[in-house]
Subunit: 467 residues, 2 copies
């Protein structure tokens, strides 16, 4: 009983704020510990840090009212979609109010002729694609998780088919954003291009809730290709696989996906999904186009792969075969966990110019093996982006330290090669310490912009940069 009372009592300093929020939201404000804990952790290894309260908002106006109250009390505001971020983006590092946007799930408009739509922030990508099914259109960005589109915009998500369709940065046309003082703005619009002033849309995309709360997203859509085919190819060497990717991209072949799996990753999915791919560096491809176009792409890539020692170029035109292949890729995370039962996965990513990719991956693989941690590698290699999944016990500080060492050396290696400390997972709390090395004086400019829009630092404080 005492425990239950304690569980639902917010910290004393927030009491007037929480009382005001309760007037606004009634039952849609929760201070229950289980709810707060659920909202204080994402899908990563980062520790749970719970907010003082969780506000379940249903409209932009409501988000504005919540933020105004938080601004009045100078307390943190953390936006929450599906909690599938990977660098601690939803941790309430200083308590405050988490705004859960999952109730904002209206698909506001679909403009079929213009290939665009507008959704509330809580709509997930799969929900949108289900809704679009009869239109012949789809939204291609696929970060793996069935994330909310607001969250995907906030973290500049991308995933397997960014090589063809771009990232959220290229596919968000406009936003509705609630600013730190509760003002509501609309950025961008429905025109395919505009040079009418500063590109506020791109400023908020990837700002991880530190500049405002995204409540609506205008998105580009694409016609579902007439034909979709897939292929798998094994290589004796990682260099052969990466050179195949480089020449494919250079040749302008519009592949929709090129995923690299290292030997350990292939072994993991073979074991997990009872498959029998050769345990070698392997590329998974997907081709979108007309029947003839998709076939031509596959044939061209098959020839390039052969030149670089690719074997068993296996071309899957049937939906069933393709599904099996991509299911295996999507299962990679769980397959990895099964490599070391009881472990937790810590996913990290970097992105480098593609000419440095083989070198970066090989050096990282060597470092992993020498350091004695377990970490399969997969990559969205068409973009030069690759991921490690450390299989670790977060309660083993010595193992964590070894993984942190590998991660840090990988980031510094990527930066030295002209790359970035994160291609798609974002900064959150996990990559903050690398931004000075990556951006130099430009980080000070980011800080100036943050202070201009959020002088009291209430919007997701402690993420991306410190004030």
């Amino acid at each position: 009983m005492a425990q239950a009372a304690q569980d639902t009592t917010p910290t004393l300093t927030d009491e007037p704020l929480i009382a005001a929020l309760r007037v606004l939201l009634g039952e849609r404000l929760s201070t229950a510990r289980a709810v707060r804990e659920h909202h204080g952790k994402d899908a990563s290894y980062h520790a749970m840090e719970m907010p003082d309260a969780v506000a379940f908002a249903e409209t932009t106006e409501e988000v504005s009212a919540i933020v105004k109250l938080c601004a009045q009390y100078k307390r943190p505001v953390i936006a929450f979609g599906t909690g599938t971020s990977l660098e601690g983006q939803v941790q309430a590092t200083q308590g405050g109010v988490c705004i859960d946007l999952s109730g904002m799930r209206a698909i506001l408009e679909v403009n079929e002729a213009d290939l665009d739509c507008r959704v509330q922030a809580g709509v997930t990508r799969k929900t949108l694609n289900t809704h679009l099914r009869d239109t012949g259109l789809f939204f291609p960005i696929d970060p793996g998780a069935d994330a909310s589109l607001g969250g995907m915009a906030a973290t500049s998500a991308s995933g397997t088919n960014a090589v063809r369709y771009g990232t959220m940065r290229e596919n968000v046309m406009g936003l509705t954003v609630v600013l730190a003082d509760g003002r509501v703005i609309r950025t961008g619009g429905r025109a395919r291009k505009s040079s009418a002033g500063y590109d506020l849309t791109r400023l908020f995309v990837g700002s991880e809730g530190t500049l405002g709360v995204i409540t609506e997203v205008q998105l580009r859509l694409y016609g579902i290709p007439e034909a979709i085919t897939a292929a798998v190819c094994s290589f004796d060497t990682l260099a052969g696989a990466v050179d195949t990717v480089i020449l494919t991209i250079q040749s302008g072949i519009p592949v929709a996906r090129i995923e690299l799996l290292d030997e350990l990753q292939v072994k993991a999915i073979n074991d997990y999904a009872k498959l029998d791919y050769p345990v070698k560096p392997t590329l998974f491809f997907e081709f979108h186009g007309t029947e003839a176009g998709a076939r031509e792409q596959a044939e061209l890539v098959g020839e390039i792969a052969k030149d670089y020692g690719g074997t068993n170029f296996n071309w899957a035109t049937h939906q069933e075969d393709r599904s099996k292949l991509w299911q295996a890729r999507h299962d990679a995370y769980f397959a990895n966990l099964a490599l070391k039962p009881g472990s937790q996965g810590w996913a990290t990513d970097v992105c480098v110019p593609i000419s440095r990719l083989a070198e970066c991956i090989l050096e990282t693989r060597k470092d992993i093996d020498e350091t004695g941690v377990l970490a399969p590698i997969v990559g969205h290699v068409g973009d030069g982006n690759f991921h490690l999944t450390f299989l670790i016990d977060p309660d083993d500080p010595e193992e964590m330290a070894r993984a942190e060492g590998v991660n840090e050396r990988m980031v510094m290696r990527a930066l030295a090669m002209g790359g970035t400390c994160t291609g798609e997972h974002g900064v959150g709390t996990g990559k903050m310490r690398f931004l000075q090395a990556e951006h130099g004086e430009a980080l000070a400019v980011m800080r100036q912009l943050k202070l201009a829009l959020d002088p009291d630092n209430i919007m997701n404080p402690g993420k991306i940069l410190t004030i």
Copy 2:
């Protein structure tokens, strides 16, 4: 003699600044009236407003030193590339120092394997493409003029083939920027994607020198397609032409260019270039791909066009035929001037969702005709972007007022349709008065960002927004 002395004497208030700049730059600082006049006007109808001095910079460090001096004296800084902007972006509305970057013409690196390059801001797009000739790569953005790449980044230029390759926004990977206090930052990088903090690159792209001076640009490059073909098709109705475009885009056919010319524009180029295109709404297409792919695209588009009343679908595979066709398109401006000898051209553009394009063009055409001005229409219609060229006498206030009325009504029409007041010409001084209507409260946010980065409003003041 008195006249000559007056010509080179700067305004009194700037004397100490100019003396300091002369110490820095020697002969590369000019206060000659002819030089100042040349730098006070772009390629548009906007009036010449000359700076007090023109500084010919050769390095980023020199730009930084110039800006520091201007900051010290709180005097305007206006960046100048080739002077081919179209909305008065280079006008020195409050005097100050124009920094001419045309001497910064080093191509700093070309990374063939990574399809990227880094150039100084003064390198023009044609110079870059000439330099790339032997690499099999090219930079696709083509705004018509042989503009500097720094200027193209600053104005978020695009042009005929943005429908396939995007605008500068999608093709600038990173920038070197001199800020209002003289600090030098590098934004972005060579990774194909990054979610490492705020997207400063996109903030500076399209900021028209109001947030900083761009001195270096990192750009995406593309493999020259194996095959390039072109086609021309006439339509009885504008709606038929636009519906052809909509279905082409919806079908995901990756056309490289789709240009619409209205009847008056076709007449103008026929007269000018002694051509005999049917005087009807006409589409010019270009297709990039493999031999088979480009042919397939042309065939698919040909079928769509036929369904919408297109006739004489004329497919040009030979370089010579293609060059003739695109030369005609590029000559449109001069062809227009010849429609009304002695006139000056005033180019303006808007961009709307493609489903509204026919309606927007037809209403605008009707307004032009009813208002009694002469203005052919061309459009980068794959993007929903179209241009008017008013053929006017700037010294005839009554004619100017009529043209301004048409322009204003066209902009408000575009905004009402979910469009933007400028798709690619930018804001400069010409479109400023429409930004409040387009952006609402978001304009106040642009102003906050401007003040955060340029509190004394010295960077190209009087452009995009007032402080």
